[in-house]
Amino acid sequence: MRKELELMDTIEKYINGSLSEADKVAFEKKLAASPELQKELEVQQQLMKGIERTGLKQSIKKASKKYTLNRNLRNWGLSGLTVAIITAGALLIYNSVTKNNVNENAPNILPELNEQGTKLWSDADKYLPLQSFELNAEKDTVVETTDGIVIAIPANSFLDANGNPAKGTIALEVKEALNAADVMKAGLNTKSGDKLLETGGMFYINARKDGKSLNIDPENPLYAEIPSEETKPGMQLFEGKRLPDGTLDWINPKPIEKNLLPVDILSLNFYPPDYLGALSSWGYNAKDRKFTDSLYYSFASHFLSKEAITEAFQNDTLRDVSTASLSSQPGDAVALRGEELFNRNCAVCHSMGTNKITGPGMSGLFTRVPSDEWVHKFIKNNDALIKSGDAYAVKISQYDASAMTVFSYMSDDDIDAIIRYIKYGNSIDGSDYINGINPAKIKAIWNEKFQNTLLATREFEERLSYIHRVCNDRGSNEQILDLYVNNLDKNLSAIDSMAAELGAGAAFAKFALRGDGKVKNGNRDVRLLKDYYERRAKMYTEQLTKAVREFWDDQSEKDKEAFRKRNENKLNEAERVSDNFKKEVELNLSEAYRQLGQKRPKPSPGAPYGVHVATTGWYNVDAFVIESVANRTTLDYIDPASKKRAEIKYQPLNISISDARKYDRVLVYLLPDELNSFMRVKGANGVFKEELNELMIYKMVCIAYKGEESFYFSQDNIKPGTTTVSLIKTTNEDIRTNVNRYTGKSQVKAMNDELNFIAFEKQEQKRQQKLSRIRELTEKVKPVIFPCMAAVPAKPDSSKSAMTESELSE
């Protein structure tokens, strides 16, 4: 044997103690000196344990298989029987001293008195074998019977005749007849009065201490689970009453209480029932929880009550909420004023909804109009705007002949307030016009705090989808939700009944019949949670309202900023054009005078061009040059005195952009060497035209955008004629670098300003698109989130309910 194997042999002998005394001493000496040997020993010992575990696991797995097989057979046997309905508890008494033993063959010797102190016994008492479990009444105990009834017995659940908890060892007695054969063998019938019942099994439970029967503490009952594939709706628990003829009558039916299984509350869906489906059908990512949450919760801003606002202001929660234009006033004051102004001036012709009165409804207005500024202009003087040829104004004026009143006296602030009111409504009275559950309330329960409560169950999830759709005057859906949250310590079915009484509808009456219980060992701090719910719902409403307002305030600031920038850009543009013009005139003038062989007179200061000069002479040249530059047509001037000729040619340039249609936007610039700026070339449909001055050398820069992609092209020394441009895909950074490198020193600033403005416009366009998507989505999703607001209230689908009317009436 190899040395290593020999070592293992020695270690093994050492472990199982079969080394001789001398060898053992020698080994231990070696062991003490050698960490390696210690390691070897340790590993080998662990392997022995590992082998043992492997062996045990194999045995256990075998047992598990066998068990599963048996279990399935049993369930198969039962499934034929669970077609129906009744589980029965018969109360008998039996005296037994068997310890945890199913004594199937023991004769059923009945004690003198039954549990009610009478001598009445039924046949079933005599025929069914007894299973007796001995247990400590002061400890939690779980037992399972031969046929698989699992009984959980909480500590101290048995009371003696005096109502005191039983102490020490008691005997729990069980008889069961879960399948048809047993039921018949025991002579049990399935009659309740004259009615024939179908049975899901019958069982008897009793406990006794020292031969005397005990009562179950109603505050601390046992919990029994009867094996069956499923609990049939309407299954009830009957009590057995012994009749003198030895049979049992089944009386006092009670719904079966079902323990609820808590699941991860975050895995449940507490949204309004059609919410996620609607979002994904509109092409949104309904799996993006951040998105679905923020959209849904944003509606909480409609639920801030007047009281809450006053209170919030006192608590400073909302004081720092800035407003669109009146920063000294709270946002709600603006909205209120907007509402007042709207009602006074606009409401005669415009509704806040989608319906047309004289004019169109205001719902979705800002998804239609070009901009807020446009609304300003239109309100102030729609007539002027239409006459100015504004495309959208013209379009709507054609659509409807009745003209809108001109509100020229209205201040910008007032119009801002109206816009704000139209955009966001008046959230102070929001609860009046949104009828539904405040999403802040859902946020308050849909979190870790409510794990392991009634709410963290599939059963509640199902209720909630109905609660969202409760639309009536008696019990609003919010009240029904409160009812559930405020009664976490009750059985779900009990709350269902309360909800039904509050007028939540037939669905809830049906729920109540299911007999759903509560979460066993659930969170006990329900009173604290109730408080938490109320506080959180309020807090979230305030926070969410604030967030929503801040968002729109911020957008409103951005609107103003964009307005300012555009104006600035317009001014710059005008200045640039005029500079270019001056420079070009200057250049052409010098050239014209040179060609005429004349010295150019000094321009009169202050009024250099286009001034009527009362004297004859050179001014004609100036006038011609100016006219030629302004019209970009060739100058062809013959001096009447000298008959000399001055000619400066303007020749057409056609720039044709390949595949122009594929771009969202194409910009073409000419950079003349003589100018400090650029010329924007006008064009449409991919054809750009300009007249080139023969005195200048032009460079050309083309930029195009398609979505997020940028394209670029540049060329030197542009000649009149037709140039075809094939743009090359690039990045915004590269465009900037190229433009900077390519452009003449004096033109860099102008070009960079232009690029900055383009970037800003792009960003602004994206922002506006995003905003209109948000507005559109908000409008669209509102009736989904608040089903009671939809034109036709969504009715809960009755087919989803497990029971039909006919089943109920049985």
Partner: protein, 181 residues
Amino acid sequence: MNDQKIIELIRSRRQDKVFTTLYSYFPVVKKMILAHGGRPEDAEDIYQEALIVFYKKAAAGDFKLTSAISTYLYSIARFMWNDRLKRQQKNTFVELGDNHVNEAEFVPAVEAEDQYRLAEKVISELGDRCCELLLLFYYQGKKLRNIATKMGYNSENTAKNQKYKCLEAAKIKLKSLQQIS
């Protein structure tokens, strides 16, 4: 079968019968674990571990049954499940009443078993023949002679040699795994 009988069977190493009997308590444990965030696989795993702990305790000579085996198994399983929940930083625990089996009684055994899981993995991942050989010899206590006949080795010595080779392979594997962790 009563509890004392089960203990006797364990001590006479008739574990197959024991485990089959004890599996009837599984539904209770399963319910408890499912009700506290576990999946059916977790329930199976935990219950099997509980059976191992109980088996080893019961096999030890000094073991005295202080409660019903069902209650005992339930307590071990509950302890292990809580432990796992704690490690996953979940905050939904199965409530621990003071009215149960004293946990101190089995906690060291539970922790020890946890340590042996790695060795078990190594053994169960050895080749089938190696695994069978080691189990026959060490777990079932079969004689080398019988093993040689059963598994078709030429001699008792070949079987013995083979046994050590298998053990050596396992040793190397376990050492390398321990180094990693």
